[in-house]
Symmetry: C2
Subunit: 343 residues, 2 copies
């Protein structure tokens, strides 16, 4: 049984025998009795397993290292704050080494970045990746219910999409060999010509919108810009809707609509995870999101933006000026000025 | 109003004035009266627009080339076989050149392949791409309702996933320059080392399954094998579920379950498109799919397969032999032998 199900049906399961499988997050050992926090990743909640001296193999079970996977049969009980599983049988499925780097304590994100294959086992990343998954589903649900056709645009391309970014080149040439021989045999090049990775599926979306009226892509794009800011990544997934017979007002309606739909969907389907993120990562997160849902987004012209920025008397890094781009710092100021998402 | 909606609500819309936008698929001109087949891609069905001499600008509207986009205001009428829109106003939105290559006739798929940006405007590709979109949604719905976490695995990688295929190299090096100078400056290489495009997200899926119990990826993979068969493509999208605490029997259950779910979903949500494909592309398609839904898949051991293949007395290209792979021709024979999907 999944641990999510155990919590969901806890009332009817009390005093019943159940079986769960998962990974040990914490293992507190006492002489007569011991406690295991068990996670199977179906929820960020952990199930407390209790076992005592009467359990078969008590001594060897006490030696099981956290991080190991186990199977537990037992009877569900009402504990002080939450439910507990009184174990009747504990079986080791997969052992975990003493050198296991994820300790039952708070790790820095920098440390976890180096343990990329293990960090999904922490509560933080359990929450983040489940929210990402649920938000992705919300995006698909929104566009499908609105009748859009979902496209998988080709990622190998020789178009650079109006210079949206620097392109990575894709090749089957042996570059090291070329440096030695000085000779490029284009017969060795898979497509027989220079090909790169798509920086955007916009062009493909546009040609399909001219056939289906409403289409969207939701896939990866790649940009080789050597810019080490938090706003740039070499590969990322994004959503690109393209709509025929639509005007700017209509596009803004869609943008606002899809964002609100995703927020509503995530708040509904990732309740536990959002509560965790609200408490541990960004206080007030849920309140902020609910505020976004309540009000219409502010829609403002470019000219009005520049006027507001000029009147702000703030010493921006980039001085606001008619004809120039609106920079990140300007966007931030404007959003705070209006107190809501601003288009 | 979308043309899909017009057909859906045709009973309540008869004698009402409506406005539609779309592309002209066919334009038949007579002296007193003319007919336009209008498509907006929200359904593969086309709406017949009728206009006569009394319409303002009758002569110039008759000159509008098929492929053009127009806006039509008119009154919906019951025609002989289907509904018709009696135009009160027709406005040209986007003109289409006389050289437009998609004629109102059947084109070969080879020809359409060369017109990749226009082929979504044909009924065949309207059906194919909508079915693909709906099938993709079915896949997401299945795994999400079963509690799987959807992952976007990194596509840049230095692992080759157990040699699942040849890798494309991704580079920011200037290969042409290297051939001249004979010198590779790895400072110019984006990641500072040799990086390729993922051939499978299996490894990432496995690490996440060890945290969430059930995960899936649905994204692109890339293979540089120089194999020109219908079974090989350089880039493709696939679904890779990874499940912890599961055995072979359980994995087969999931495989069977997801396939049946997708078929059921497509038959329900792409009715018109599937009917078209059944009539025009593969007779008996719907019947075949419904048969797949009805019966359990055949599950058979490797040994049993080889025995059946040996007893078939068929002169296979690859002689079936214990210890050897089961080839495509063998798979085809076995599936026909059992008369159903075979695992």
């Amino acid at each position: 049984m999944e641990i999510k199900e155990v919590f969901k049906k806890e009332k009817e399961l009390i005093k019943k025998e159940i079986e769960v499988k998962g990974w040990i997050r914490k293992h507190r050992k006492q002489k007569e009795i011991s406690f295991i926090d068990l996670s199977d990743g179906t929820t960020i909640k952990q199930l407390q397993v209790i076992y005592d001296k009467n359990l078969k193999d008590f001594d060897s079970i006490q030696k099981i290292h956290f991080g190991s996977s186990i199977k537990v049969k037992g009877v569900l009980k009402k504990g002080r704050d939450t439910i507990e599983l009184q174990a009747k049988e504990i079986i080791l499925i997969g052992d975990c080494s003493e050198e296991y780097p994820i300790q039952p304590k708070k790790h820095s994100r920098e440390f976890l970045r180096e343990q990329a294959y293990l960090r999904p086992r922490t509560t933080l990343f359990q929450a983040v990746f489940r929210v990402r998954s649920i938000a992705s589903m919300a995006i698909h649900e929104y566009f499908q219910k609105e009748g859009y056709v979902y496209l998988h645009a080709p990622l190998f391309t020789s178009s650079d999409c109006e210079g949206a970014g620097e392109m990575f080149r894709v090749t089957t040439l042996d570059i090291e060999k070329i440096s030695k021989t000085g000779y490029i045999d284009y017969e060795d090049e898979f497509f027989g010509k220079k090909v790169g990775l798509s920086v955007s599926s916009q062009f493909e979306g546009e040609t399909f919108a001219q056939a289906f009226s409403k289409v969207y892509t939701f896939g990866p794009s790649f940009r080789a810009d050597k810019s080490h800011t938090p706003y740039h990544v070499a590969e990322f997934w994004h959503v690109e809707p393209e709509v025929a017979f639509c005007d700017l007002e209509g596009i803004m309606d869609i943008g606002e609509d899809v964002l609100k739909y995703v927020i509503k969907y995530v708040l509904k389907h990732a309740k536990v995870e959002m509560k965790f993120l609200d408490e541990k990562v960004e206080k007030g997160l849920i309140k902020k999101l609910k505020k976004v849902l309540k009000e219409p987004f502010k829609r403002v012209t470019y000219k009005e933006c520049i006027d507001i920025l000029k009147q702000s008397k703030i010493d921006f890094e980039f001085t606001p000026k008619y004809g120039e781009d609106i920079s990140k710092e300007h966007e931030r100021y404007l959003t705070e000025y209006f107190g809501c998402p601003t288009i």
